[in-house]
Structures are given as C-alpha cells and as structure tokens.
C-alpha cells in the first residue's frame, strides 16, 4: 500500500515536471504555476552551466532551441553538475552539425569526462594486443582549438571550419588529461592492433591512451 506521503510526493512531483501537470490530480493554482516556472528556470540554468562552452559556440537561437528541447524532455534536473553534463553533452552531440566547432568541443568535453573517470582505474596487463584505451578519446578539431577559444574570449568571429587537422588525445594518464597528437600517433590510434611496437606505442600505453589485452 502506498503511504499518504508517497502519494502526495508523487502527485506533487509529477505536477511540477514538464508536461506532467494535467494528469496528476494536483489542483492547479498560481503557486503551482510559479513553482513550475521556477523548476523550468533552474533546469535551463543547470543545462546551460553543464554545457556552457559548447553552447557558447552556437548562435543564440539555436542555443535556445536546443536547451528548450533538452528541458522539455525532462533534462536539467540533476543535483550534480557533472551528472547534468554527462546527460546534455551526448544530447547535443547527436544534434549538432557535423563538422562544426561546437561538435568538436562537445566531443572534447565528453573525452575529458571519460578520461577523468579513468584516473583511478586499476592498471591493465602490460602484455598483449593493443587497443584504444577504455577512457581515452581522440578528437579532430576543424581549426586550431586555441584559436577557437581565443576568438570566443574576444567575442570575435570563429575560425572557418576546415578539414579535421588538429588532433588532440584525451586519456587518464596525461597531465591535464589531454595533449596534441602527432601524425604517427593519429595513425596508431586509428589502427592500434596493427601498430608496430616501439617508443611511440610504449608512451601511449603509459599514458593510458592505448591499453593491452592479454
């Protein structure tokens, strides 16, 4: 049997949620309407905070539409910013133009999150076939990422979207969790099992960009 308190909380919680107000048997009131507005505003605020850099690379209208769609779908409620980021970034990645600077930065933020999650993971066997690290990512930027950030900071026009020529690796074993990739490392990342063993692969294993499967 559902307790009185459980029933009240379920009805009130549903009444406040986006689109859920009409089937909750909670009476409409000006206070409920205001609480819904507050909830909406908080959810939008959390969504924007969690994906601030990616959203700042978008035109205002597209930014508003994406945040609205995300919150309409029930997003923006997480108590922890990182949880919100883990939810909104894949949402945005599936909807951003490819290629675009916004998509590259969205993937970069996801790559940083994956790398951060792997920092305290136990080490894998040191022998075996090479594969891409579980918490590693390589992102191809369509302009120098530093130039994109500088343009953003200075409120200037972003560099044009060129071919993906600026590759950055993200992994738990890297200082600050990222570094630029050399052309040879790009090739190794794309076909790790076929890579010839040597100083390059050794370094990439040590940095947890690659891992070995026994």
């Amino acid at each position: 049997m559902v307790s009185v308190l459980t029933d009240i909380q379920n009805r009130l919680g549903r009444a406040v949620a986006p689109g859920g107000g009409h089937q909750t048997q909670w009476p409409e009131s000006p206070g409920l309407v205001l609480t819904r507005r507050v909830q909406r505003s908080w959810c939008e605020g959390r969504a924007i905070n969690a994906a601030r850099m990616v959203l700042s690379l978008l035109p205002p209208r597209q930014r508003r539409e994406l945040v609205n769609d995300y919150v309409d779908g029930g997003g923006g409620t997480a108590a922890f910013l990182s949880t919100e980021a883990a939810a909104i970034l894949p949402f945005l990645a599936a909807r951003l133009p490819d290629p675009s600077h916004a998509l590259s930065f969205c993937r970069m933020e996801l790559g940083l999150m994956r790398a951060r999650d792997g920092v305290s993971e136990p080490a894998l066997p040191t022998r075996g076939n090479l594969r891409q690290g579980r918490h590693a990512t390589m992102i191809g930027f369509h302009a120098d990422p530093a130039a994109i950030v500088a343009a953003l900071d200075a409120h200037q026009q972003l560099p044009p979207v060129g071919r993906a020529a600026h590759f950055v690796l993200f992994a738990p074993g890297l200082p600050n969790l990222f570094r630029a990739a050399t052309p040879k490392e790009v090739a190794v990342w794309n076909s790790p099992a076929a890579a010839a063993r040597g100083p390059i692969t050794d370094r990439m294993v040590a940095e947890q960009i690659l891992e070995q499967v026994s």
Partner: protein
C-alpha cells in the same frame, strides 16, 4: 555565550558550539581578500560543489574534485567551517540520498566542520520504481508521517556523523498542502522534528519572510511559535517579486524586514552560533563584491549588538537536559 546542541545518543558529551559570528559561502570567483579579512568569521561550504558523480559498472559514487577542494582550502582553509548540503533530500518518502551522506561523512573526515545542515524538503520521487530528480525542492506536508520519517532520519544522520545536524525551513508557494491537526503547519512540522530528533534548526529568515508575505501571516508572530532554542544558524538573503509572489531568489541585498527579523531572533534565540548571508553565484557579478561586503558588515553590526550583550549570561537550553 555558548550554543549547546545534544549531538547524538552515541556521543558521551553534548557538543558545545562556540559562537562563530558571520559566515559566507565559498565562491571561487570572489577575490581571496574577502575570505581573509575581518568580514567573515566562518565559511559555509556545500560539499556537493567539490564532488562529481561517477558511474562505473552500474555503481554510482561521488568522486572528489581535488583541484577545486584544494583551491577552497587555500582560500579559506584557516576559517572555521560549517557545511550546508544540497542533495540529501531527507524528506523523500521512498528514501534519502545515501550516497550523498556517505560523501558528507568522507568530507568531514578530511575537512573538520562545526555542524552539518540540510533542507527540510524533498527533491526526488519514484517514477516506475526508479528514483528521479524533480529539479526543484518541494515542501513536505505538515503530517504525522513527515514528522516520523524525517525525525528518524535526522537522528540517524546526527548519530552517524557525530556532528550537530540542522534542518532549514524552506520557502514555497503552495497553499493547498495537506496538514494534520496535530502538526498544523510548517512551524509545527519543524518543531516536532527537531524535538523528536534532538537536532537543531537553521532558521532561514528570508524564507520565513517569503512565506509570511505569500501566505499572509506575520513573520514576527511566527517567530514566537518557533522553538528558538533549537536555532543554531540563521540565513539571510534577498529576493524579488515574480507573478504575484515574493520569491526566494537570492539575487540581491537583504530587505529591511529581514534585518528586523534578524534583530528580533538574535534577541530571543539563545543558541545561535552563526549568521550567513546568501547570494547565488550567478548574481555576484551584477551585485558586486563591495555590496557583499556591505551586507556582511551590516550583519556583523546586528550580531555584535546581541552577542556582546548576552556574553555575560551564558545559558543552557532547557531541551539539552532531556
């Protein structure tokens, strides 16, 4: 004057809370000078801001963001600290956030604190058997079941952490919440919980002010019904009107009426150990550091008026004996 809180059944002696004075939250964007001069006597930290959720193999854990924690420690680690949680959801009927309590327990081992406070509300519910976040805190109805549920949990939190635990009254906009005659209203709910759990109250005077305006009661009269001997900390803040309601926006300075309520409360509440001015970080750049400093100075003036007067006659709250 000393504030004394009966911390828990498993502590041999009551926890003696020295009055701390005026407190403020840690905000990384504020100049370090704000935390290193005479404006602030203690710091109020939200432990959630130093943690992120990590999901591995279906297990959720809260991992410390070390860089941010160290930044806070460098800036204000020498000040006495209290923690003010945001994610416990102590009033959720289906269960509170146990991972959050584990995190608080770890946090206070690493960064000793004077007390732990949380909000008397719920912010999660079950949806098809799965816990979901509502996205906004919601009030508890003043019913017996709320008293039973929260007082048991509050006593457990206090026992487990070995720290005084305080519950904060909230602002809300519902006039149609159910209430049992024996509990009556939000004041009755808080009084019964703090009594049963032997815990303290964080009295948010701006929240009280909001509810008084929106529901048409007199805040000063309500103060007389609050168990003021349980009040260990006070929050003050500012808000604004929206859609016909006065809201708890935390976006500006403290209104005159809340200063008056602070004056009244400090005159009557014998165990208050600290007063914290609250403003949301997103409003800081518009509000300004000087304005923050001004609010803190005003709070200190009110604090000193009362605390200097009462220092000569320390009192032991009657409920401590029980």
């Amino acid at each position: 004057m000393r504030a004394i809180l009966s911390a828990s059944a498993n502590l041999a002696a009551p926890v003696m809370l020295e009055p701390l004075g005026i407190g403020f939250g840690w905000m990384p964007k504020l100049p370090a000078a704000l935390y290193s001069n005479d404006l602030i006597d203690f710091i109020e930290l939200a432990p959630e801001q130093f943690h992120r959720e990590s999901r591995r193999g279906g297990k959720v854990e809260l991992v410390t963001e070390t860089a941010m924690l160290e930044a806070a420690r460098r800036q204000c680690g020498s000040l006495p600290t209290v923690i003010h949680g945001l994610a416990l959801s102590i009033g959720s009927a289906h269960g509170f956030n146990e991972i959050c309590l584990d995190m608080v327990e770890r946090f206070i081992r690493d960064w000793p604190c004077e007390w732990y406070s949380e909000h008397l509300h719920f912010q999660t519910r079950l949806n098809h058997g799965r816990q979901v976040e509502i996205g906004v805190p919601l009030p508890l109805p003043a019913i017996r079941e709320s008293v039973d549920l929260v007082s048991e949990r509050a006593a457990m939190v206090q026992r487990r952490l070995g720290l005084p635990f305080l519950l904060e009254n909230m602002a809300h906009y519902f006039t149609d919440l159910p209430a049992d005659d024996e509990v009556m209203d939000e004041v009755g709910l808080m009084n019964q919980i703090t009594q049963r759990a032997a815990c303290g109250q964080l009295l948010d005077l701006h929240n009280l002010h909001c509810n008084a305006i929106n529901f048409g009661f007199d805040a000063a009269t309500a103060l007389d019904r609050i168990a003021l001997d349980r009040v260990v900390e006070i929050h003050i803040a500012g808000g604004q009107w929206q859609d016909g309601y006065y809201t708890d926006a935390h976006d500006r300075g403290v209104p005159k009426r809340v200063w008056e309520l602070l004056d009244l409360t400090l005159a009557k509440a014998p165990n208050v150990a600290g007063v914290v001015f609250e403003i949301l970080p997103e409003h800081l750049s518009r509000f300004g550091t000087d304005a923050v400093a001004n609010e803190l100075m005003l709070a200190r003036r009110v604090w000193q008026r009362h605390r200097h007067a009462s220092q000569a006659a320390p009192s032991v709250p009657s409920w401590f004996q029980s």
